[in-house]
Symmetry: C2
Subunit: 676 residues, 2 copies
């Protein structure tokens, strides 16, 4: 470590910082759209972090032990792209010039999977900060599981640049509190404290003492009073690395749009500087005579050189891994498999058999209870399963038996107490999934999926394998009443692109739903009942397991005759459909279709869809204890839907179902009415 | 004020506290469902607050200058109901015995509108805390507007009981930070610090220093180390009332389930104590020989007496109001009207005329810009309009020109800077609406409606007149990319019961949508475009204004012939439909139906629906730049939907629309294809 007061930085560093700045504003100008303010203000701290601390190798963006960097202030994407380009991540100058254009590698906000070197999709404020907490938990957990004497496979830091908005958003507060509780010593955030928001000076709404707040969360907090002092930034980061028992927040005073005519005004945030403003900015940094996208050769060389800094470390790591695989073959295989994100081939048959044993004696079981049992079966073959609940574990059944709860003292735990922090939980699950090596799961009541929703959207945008366990799935919640009874949530989740929504009807469908979830490359929601439901045995219903994989299937064909009507139902309402089928069997052939997942059904070939829902059978009733929205696609303009289209009621569940017409008799009556 | 150490409380008070406790656990036991832990632990502090501080009159639960009390820990409802019953709010012992039963006055969580004396629907944690901030802002604002020398019409406090969960939830953090910033001296919260959550000791996830955190937010924080010490609670509340420049948090150490066998264990939280546990609890409090629902006569008398404490004050207030109305007739009329929640009769014709003037010269205007103009027209006749944006005012166009921004120094402001705190904003809007006297509005990007959603749900549950201004309503957002482009949000909002979703197609529909929103008793969302849209003149489209009130209407009939096909569209896509109609006019009669609101259309009589969408015209195309979910109800199984069913893209808006087929040519082609 260099002593304070003696700077290791020189003119080349200053030129490098200014190059990042100007490339970023050039990109914004060329795109006629974007955010010049953050790059101009934050470039120095980003530069010091990226070139002097970040352990990375542009040739191997997927090196498992790389430091993770999250640009929580996602609107500063141009700055990050400039750095990735100069560091050899495969972005060209043309890519920078293509900023924010159709199918470019440089979209408006960083998108994981689009740009090499981008660790997380950011933009919705607070979420980058919170995902970083998941990344840091992941590193600590993997280190505990896999490191061995002389084999430090996992030993990296998680860094982020965060902004005022990240600290104002509730999700950021939730995650910061939990990070302090967990004592995440390898989590290091730099806060771009520019005191400016879109509506004006941050003090208008954000006058709190951030330093004291984060200290209260058990963070180590330090201050850099002038972002231009690169040496101070380095010292602060050195100290942050020395702190091993608390996360660090470095508050760095910056000026939004530094060096531009709009410096320190809200106008610098979100629109191009304009030709004149850009010229003035260029002149301010001493590049008045240069054109756009200019990079001095020495600067280019300097970035390339810095990008080599960890190549040897990375190579050494790969050698270590190879030796590790010889010495610890079992751990080595597990690690490889987990990092690849594949599951053992034996998983599916094992699970199907296990389900038969697990549920052999149950005639009635709530699907949330079934889910808990399946989770525990899966957890044995899938050590990468890690998760918990937002303080509802006893209700959500999300505990892996016999495993520790994650904490600073038990960093290898696979159970996580998230506290009453649903959105923070979702973001942390995303972070765990982003890191690699995990299938994270998290539970809450379905009604509170609203709180998690912004995180679910990011899971879906990034196609992360995250399993959301949403229990207490309808007015079946009962006495807790409308604040706790989901009515619109199934429809709202189905509205989200790239999200699998699975609402199993019984224990066996639940087992299949979990199997879908852990093998699908993307997020899934399991929608589970609070109340007991009959167990439908595979003997009587042979497609019970496989049917789930197709999204919808003929659970029970009309007995002794051709089907004249179809009842389509999901979850607990499937049993109503079966009961109505039974009531009507002597005079009407009713086919019961179980539809656990609209998304899976939508991906089936047309002939399968026609087999399940033949066009000629137009007498169709859908039954679901939630809003009807969208069921018209299955029943058509002439069909009927038994649904709940207003908020729920506080009363015992059975009473509510009866009052709202969710009875076998009423379902049978509605089927009859299709023929009137 | 009584000096510390000399208690004003006596044995009757202790008996009263224990009566509240035991009534609450009796209710839970009888219902076989509910939460005994909170009432047992928190009864003393609730008792002192309710009987010694709360300015209220059970005979006039709607007295405008009453203190507001919010049970943010809504699961403690039984405690509140016991108090309301004993205080004469019209709840009988039978109502208590009917706890959590169908259509009882005592639902599982407090529900505003169901139980007299319940100020807010609570249960989703963090929201009670945050709504209280809105209630306090409301009081301060009304005081500034209406109080005159010797006429202190508004001078009340806002109290809440908050729990660990409220402090863990991000929405609570957002609101607490803003409350400190606003210096809400009349906001007083008691924190039930029982160190216990459902999953175990709160320290498992919540080890932060709450005292330091709230001090960092600029709150006055005090500590009561033993909730059993009624005098200490009183002293803390006295001090809180003396503090006029900061909100107060009184941290009160309690024990979950105090006095029960489950004391200080998570098991005390959410299930009945059981016969044995209840007997032991009763014995603990010295009522071992009494049956359930026992109330000692002296205790009953004592509560009745305390409930009279403010009757004189209330009567005096009414006299003051009567005098005020004589002396300040204009203010008096405004106040009366605002508290009734009615709007001036002249509003509708005024607005319609104003729209013609305001938009006379515009040929193109983004509906967000139109909304800003309409808001400013409305704000002149509706001084109760108050609101702002979650740091996106320049984009959301949510500023009332010429009015101050709300702050401690300008408490009468009608503009509010909410900071980057969407969910907190929503909850605060709910609080403003709950208080009475306001029509609150709040803006953010539509994509971030996910963050606000839990608050929107509470607006809908309580039927509060809150206007959500969601701008940047589709991939029309352009370069900011998929994190900022709503695709699923229209469908997700339409899924919510009791919520009006309005997506106007142009400036005039926007004016009508605002008129709907401010006259509708319930929440509305305005879904507005970022991009410019043609202004459809009332001359050419005579139903442009009135049509919005019906939800859907024939905007443009097939020219020169009977309609053979219908194109149904909302918002910006209406213009595509019109362009396609024009392209096809020589060979195909196409009717264009604008559908700004599904909910309003659903409430029309069948003959109107048939007029707009005649059953015989089965060739139907829906066009909307979002997910198709639910449009099948309008187009049927044989119709088509031009929609966006995956996430968006970062590129200029025009490019995205073209790539995704949102062009007049493609719409015309799709109409043609209906006839193939």
């Amino acid at each position: 470590m260099t002593p304070t007061g003696f700077s290791v930085f020189n003119r080349k560093d200053r030129a490098s910082v200014d190059t990042l700045r100007l490339l970023a504003v050039d990109m914004v100008e060329k795109a006629k759209s974007g955010h010049p303010g953050f790059p101009l203000g934050a470039a120095p701290m980003a530069y010091v972090l990226w070139t002097r601390f970040l352990k990375h190798d542009p040739q191997r963006p997927d090196w498992p032990d790389r430091d993770r960097f999250v640009l929580s202030a996602g609107h500063g994407s141009a700055l990050l792209y400039a750095f990735l380009c100069l560091s050899g991540y495969g972005l060209t100058m043309d890519d920078l010039k293509n900023f924010r254009q159709w199918e470019s590698l440089t979209p408006g906000h960083p998108e994981r999977g689009v740009t090499p070197g981008v660790e997380a999709t950011t933009g919705p404020l607070g979420h980058g900060l919170a995902m970083g907490v998941g990344l840091a938990l992941a590193e600590r957990n993997l280190a505990k599981r896999f490191n061995r004497p002389n084999f430090k496979l996992f030993d990296h830091h998680t860094y982020a640049l965060v902004s005022d908005g990240d600290l104002m958003e509730g999700v950021g507060s939730e995650a910061a509190s939990l990070a302090g509780n967990q004592g995440l010593g390898k989590l290091i955030y730099i806060y771009d404290s520019n005191d400016m928001t879109i509506e004006g000076h941050a003090g208008l709404t954000f006058s709190e003492d951030v330093r004291a707040r984060f200290a209260a969360y058990n963070w180590h907090v330090s201050l850099v009073s002038d972002v231009g002092d690169l040496q101070s930034i380095k010292v602060a980061l050195d100290k942050a690395k020395q702190e091993t028992e608390r996360p660090t927040l470095i508050i760095c005073r910056t000026k939004l749009g530094a060096g531009s005519p709009k410096e320190d005004t809200p106008g610098a945030h979100g629109e191009p500087l304009g030709a004149e403003g850009l010229a003035a900015t260029r002149a301010h940094y001493g590049y008045g005579d240069r054109g756009p996208f200019f990079v001095d050769e020495r600067v280019a060389e300097h970035f390339k050189e810095r990008a080599q800094a960890h190549v040897e470390t990375r190579k050494k790591w790969e050698e270590t891994l190879a030796e590790y695989e010889k010495k610890y073959p079992e751990e080595g295989r597990e690690l490889k498999r987990r990092l690849l994100g594949s599951v053992p081939d034996s998983l599916a048959p094992d699970l199907k058999e296990a389900a038969k044993t697990v549920f052999a004696k149950d005639s009635q079981v709530a699907t949330r209870v079934a889910s808990g049992k399946v989770l525990n079966v899966l957890a044995k073959s899938l050590p990468e399963l890690i998760g918990g609940s937002a303080d509802l574990a006893p209700s959500n059944k999300t505990v892996i038996d016999g495993e520790e709860f994650l904490s600073a003292l038990t960093p290898g735990g696979r159970n996580i107490h998230f506290g009453v922090r649903e959105q923070g939980m979702g973001a942390i699950l995303n972070g765990l999934a982003l890191h690699g090596g995990f299938i994270p799961f998290g539970g809450t009541f379905l009604v509170f999926s609203d709180f998690v929703r912004p995180a679910v959207r990011l899971s879906a945008l990034m196609s992360l394998k995250v399993v959301y366990v949403f229990t207490h799935d309808s007015v079946g919640v009962g006495e807790d009443g409308p604040t706790h009874q989901p009515v619109e949530h199934l429809a709202a989740l189905r509205a989200m692109p790239n999200l699998l929504v699975l609402r199993p009807a019984d224990a066996f469908e639940t087992a299949a739903a979990w199997e879908v979830a852990v093998t699908h490359q993307g997020p899934s929601c399991l929608i589970l009942s609070r109340q007991n439901l009959p167990v439908l045995t595979p003997e009587k219903y042979p497609h019970l397991h496989e049917g789930v994989f197709k999204g919808a299937y003929v659970l029970s064909e009309a007995p002794n005759q051709d089907p004249q009507a179809i009842v389509i139902a999901s979850g607990s309402e499937v049993h109503l459909a079966l009961a109505a089928q039974e009531l009507l069997k002597d005079r009407l052939g009713v086919r019961v279709v179980s539809i656990p997942s609209w998304e899976l059904f939508a991906s089936q070939p047309p002939d399968y869809v026609e087999k399940v829902l033949p066009a000629k059978i137009t007498k169709r009733l859908a039954v679901e204890a939630g809003r009807s929205l969208g069921y018209e696609r299955f029943v058509g303009l002439n069909g009927k839907i038994l649904s709940i289209d207003s908020f729920g009621h506080s009363a015992p569940a059975g009473v509510i179902f009866e009052k709202l017409g969710f009875t076998p008799d009423n379902v049978a009556r509605l089927v009859d009415s299709l023929f009137e």
